[in-house]
Symmetry: C2
Subunit: 518 residues, 2 copies
């Protein structure tokens, strides 16, 4: 068994059976080993950012990491943006990067670069495989690091000669340590804050995005008269009819501050204290109101389920009795197509069990609100602000959940970073319907230009935010990648096209022509 | 004047008048300043890898760097692969990366990451702007570092508050130091080696790619009975009819070793000692034959022109008398379309002054040989092995040379990393004709799979190297980005389409359907 085979066999032995890859020459022994280990499913991406984002989407839905396979420093570079998003979303990724043979590095060949410095930007754990015999152990250590909690990007660098060298050994996973129990003192402190009669709010995020934890948190808030808000961009939110509906903290700092105003206690439930996404002249970065105490219920690696249960018991809350969203779809939208009408039609038609990958940005602003009462579904957000995550995450989610429908709500500008995702959706025959909002602009930057105090922008500045001239034809782009595609210019067209796409196996793209929201 | 304005004004004052950008919120003050400094030409890219590759192509042809403008760590990540290529090709790039406001960084907002660790992978110089008053000096230092020689990627990190803060000052460029003169002893040593009667070869690269230097080197070789070879992937080669024709060292190590066999002296003329591109089991990385002495004529930062002139004088060589390639086009190819026929038609039709960006990989193998006698032109190669460079380099070269025709010879698999280049070509109305070799495969990896000793590959391995299923339709993709596009399936169709594209202003894509070479 060579090192490459040991790597794949160890991954499979540890339950990691999916690898999103864009390999090169230095990874050919890994690729060759795929035929020896049929339990490993390999998915080809045409660009590394697709592979890393797909690994993120897969892990969010599967609840276990996928592996990547990237080619040297430049391949890792291409994958950095979506690894950044995974890092910020605390999604586990087993990030495998091939390298030159160990003895070849000193010759500074053309593709030689310092891989580790790149990996450090996104990885809490970086391991070099140095011998085939150690590969199994290195893989296990990397998996354990990736899984956390919290989930992390853990990078394993595999030199070509370690991959082709004999003497590989399959590693065994150690027994997982249980997550740390939260101190009684913390539970008491928070219970006291909630009982104080002072304005309080639970800010939930991370693992609280799962329905059972959210119901528990909502019950605690309800029982104690506290408010509850969800972090702005959760990695995964189980929501819809029959589940607890929780508003998300707005993206715009001004609106978030208005939401939080007057609070004396902010209880963080697997969420970070709220900060402004960007800095703006004269506006605060820290969004916690003055005089508000921040309490953290549970560290990121702590036992959240247990902490929520104990706090619920302490305050006398019962998740079974907390209010759930009723089934309620928007009534049939009609008339001229706009961003809101698109969101309404999606809310009207999305099937039970849908997975929504939301990178609609400005166009999707109303989508969460309009889908509150849609049949139960999962909602996946852009976790790290690096655009180009939506389509790869949709792809990865669809690989993880082949029996569910995936809907990608996708802004035009953002789509163009990782558009190659569409080809892999077609190759894998995945049931992903992309609703592409074509407003021919980096609309959010038009908004931000004035928000940062840079004025309205002259014509040359505006030109840098404009995606027209020439107009992008996403229907043609999707067809070029082998997908069924159509363009909707009215609400009726959109409804008909979306209904058909959702009833047809395989991927499709619907290009919704919409005006800018801002 | 704010920091952003000071930055742009300093760039312009130092002769840097072109910026390829993909900005975000933290760069909005830079963007707003574009309307205050009309001398700065800004070119929007839809993906950062396009911007960084275009900056590379621009500098190769303009002889001076362009600037980039990238958004935070993830934006830099997306630009890394083509910055890697620029680094390996010693092309200067003034790489500007926006960052959060200095006071905002500690809040670990969603887009916060360690930018410097990414920059280190590609940059010999990294500077943080800390105050508006220091911006001008920081920019000048960055430009000087980028220009070298040798050319380098120099990174300037611009926090948003430094960009929007008042008190900016325009920096002034210091007088450039002349490059170091090569010692007489080195000239003597090499002259003696060339006069020894032992088999000798000049390996030329880097700055020797310009016609005058190449003629000088060829005259030295010719006069002393030495051979002359060019590095495998030069950044820029002035060649064609009336210029010296020099073969390039083959990509495949076995073939390169055959070329170099028996040599006793290898004289490096702004080139690195030859090494294998990748490592292969049982094959050497170092391609210098045993018993061959390696002599370096001139350090990368030395005065190459002077060193060549002195060596020429020492050996009695005269560049004016060295043999030049005669004007000779392939006779009209016909019949079924294959990679060779495509290259022949390009050679037949390419106009005088053409700039060829060559990322045709396996399909383009015969293109250099077939164009040896084409009218004088420039040839730009993939310098660092990170695929996805060809189209951005073509774009940047066209921005630098608006009066010349650019031909991008582009492999299908490689094109998909930075396909967004096409849109910017259309927006800028650039005369770039892309000849896209569609062989529906990562053909080079099929070759490499067996070369690394991984066997012929089973069906699952082969699947990872295959771009069919679904077939990519590059004609549709190009039209989706606003370009004229057509598909050629016979040699006659290709000739007719290429002739028309070369006679029409603006960009066009011709999709040449070809079988795999390997």
């Amino acid at each position: 068994m060579n090192g490459g085979q040991a790597l794949i066999r160890t991954l499979v032995a540890c339950g990691i059976d999916t690898c999103f890859m864009n390999p090169g020459t230095s990874e050919m022994h890994f690729v060759a080993a795929l035929d020896d280990v049929p339990e490993m499913r390999s998915v080809l991406a045409l660009f590394e950012g697709v592979a890393t984002g797909a690994a993120d989407g897969f892990a969010r839905m599967a609840g276990r990491p996928a592996a990547t396979l990237l080619h040297l420093g430049p391949g890792l570079g291409n994958g950095i943006a979506n690894l950044h998003n995974a890092r910020k979303g605390r999604t586990p990724v087993v990030n495998v990067v091939g390298d030159h043979a160990t003895y070849h590095k000193r010759y500074d060949a053309q593709l030689e670069s310092d891989i580790e410095t790149l990996a450090r930007n996104v990885s809490s754990s970086i391991r070099w495989c140095t011998t085939p015999a150690a590969v199994g152990r290195d893989v296990v250590d990397t998996i354990v690091a990736a899984e956390g909690p919290p989930g992390q990007v853990a990078t394993l660098i595999l030199p070509a000669d370690v991959s082709w060298g004999d003497g590989g050994e399959v590693g065994a996973r150690p027994a997982a340590a249980p997550p740390a129990r939260v101190d009684d003192g913390v539970i008491e402190e928070i219970a006291a804050a909630l009982a104080s009669g002072e304005p309080a709010c639970l800010l939930v995020g991370g693992r609280t995005g799962r329905a059972a934890a959210m119901a528990q948190a909502a019950a605690i808030a309800s029982k104690s008269g506290a408010r509850i808000l969800c972090e702005t961009f959760p990695a995964r939110l189980e929501r819809g009819a029959g589940r607890v509906a929780v508003d998300r903290l707005p993206y715009l700092g001004e609106m978030a501050m208005a939401q939080l105003m007057g609070l004396r206690h902010l209880v963080l439930v697997d969420a970070a204290a709220p900060v402004s996404f960007f800095a703006y002249p004269g506006k605060p970065s820290d969004l916690v109101p003055e005089g508000c105490r921040v309490h953290a219920l549970c560290p990121r690696d702590g036992d959240l389920t247990d902490a929520l249960a104990r706090l619920a018991e302490r305050v006398g809350a019962d998740a079974r009795t907390v209010a759930r969203a009723p089934l309620a779809r928007p009534s049939a939208a009609s008339g001229p197509l706009g961003a809101e009408a698109v969101c309404a039609v999606v809310a009207e038609l999305m099937p039970e069990g849908a997975i929504v990958s939301d990178e609609a940005n400005t166009s999707g602003l109303l989508a969460p609100q309009l889908t509150t009462g849609a049949p139960p579904h999962d909602w996946l957000c852009l976790t790290g602000g690096a655009i180009g995550q939506g389509l790869p995450v949709a792809l990865g989610a669809a690989v993880a959940c082949r029996d569910r429908r995936v809907i990608a709500l996708q802004a035009d500008g953002s789509s163009l970073y990782t558009l190659q995702s569409w080809w892999t959706m077609a190759r894998e025959g995945l049931d992903v319907t992309t609703v592409l909002f074509n407003n021919r602009s980096y609309s959010i930057l038009n908004l931000e230009l004035s928000r940062v105090g840079a004025g309205a922008g002259g014509p040359r500045a505006k030109e840098m935010l404009d995606l027209g001239r020439p107009d992008l034809d996403f229907t043609a782009l999707a067809r070029g990648m082998g997908l069924a595609a159509s363009r909707a210019t009215t609400t009726e067209e959109l409804r008909e096209q979306l209904a058909r796409a959702l009833a047809t196996p395989g991927p499709a793209v619907i290009e919704a022509m919409v005006p800018q929201v801002f």
